[in-house]
Subunit: 146 residues, 2 copies
């Protein structure tokens, strides 16, 4: 299949496919002139990559999970990520509760509110970040070059 077909089947733009190939995450099976040719199983591989990304793996980490023959799941790494997710989930849950409290708390100064102070303590422990432009990108991507 050519790159456009892969793009359509995987939902990823061609630029991303080229980028992934350059990174060694997928391979093309050959060329027809200049044009890359892919075998159908690249679709599964891309699904795996998307999955990994969703689970919080970096592209490099995902790359390390693949062996020449195919995917070689590193079980220890999976379990470590799962544990990491557990910790993240706990922190996010605490934050969520704190936010809901803050929204109704009527203490004039939040620093006098014990719940708020607890929240502050939790927050101090860790910093994580989330992007906030993902949907926009998805939308743009869908609309691109109509």
């Amino acid at each position: 299949m050519d790159i456009a077909e892969v793009a359509k089947a995987s939902g990823l733009p061609a630029s991303t496919l080229r980028f992934y190939e350059e990174k060694g995450l997928i391979q093309s099976t050959g060329r027809n002139g200049l044009r890359r040719l892919f075998s159908a199983n690249v679709i599964e591989r891309l699904a795996l990559i998307s999955l990994g990304r969703s689970a919080g793996f970096s592209l490099d980490e995902i790359g390390e999970m693949f062996t020449p023959e195919g995917l070689d799941i590193n079980r220890a790494l999976l379990l470590a990520k799962a544990d990491e997710l557990d910790r993240t989930i706990e922190e996010l849950a605490a934050m969520r509760d704190g936010l809901r409290h803050a929204a109704v708390c009527k203490a004039p100064n939040h620093f006098e509110c014990p719940k708020f102070l607890r929240l502050l303590r939790i927050a101090g422990k860790n910093r994580f970040r989330q992007p906030n432009k993902l949907k926009e990108n998805k939308l743009k991507r869908g609309v691109q070059k109509t």
Copy 2:
């Protein structure tokens, strides 16, 4: 207090404090020569900012919550973030379960495993990202300019 004191009290590097001031998130009360002077309440403000970051707010969003007089918590925004966190937590939990399953699943091809396929479906819905270099940065920061 001068910037070094604020840095120490807040745990943030001076460069970050200047950056936040430039962004309008904090203000200095004046100067002693070139040097910024801060009033003590900037510490609380910084705690609030760190809290917001931990809860997933962007600096711009945090900025919008402050009014000239101080902080003016936008309750609707807080609740919306809390709901967003709920959704994120659900997805992360599904991912975590999927990872744990994948680590023990012995199906030769994961695409034949229904649990795995369900995971794939969930992953397809959303993409979120997490950084992976935060601790390193923190460590480096502690060691800097010994």
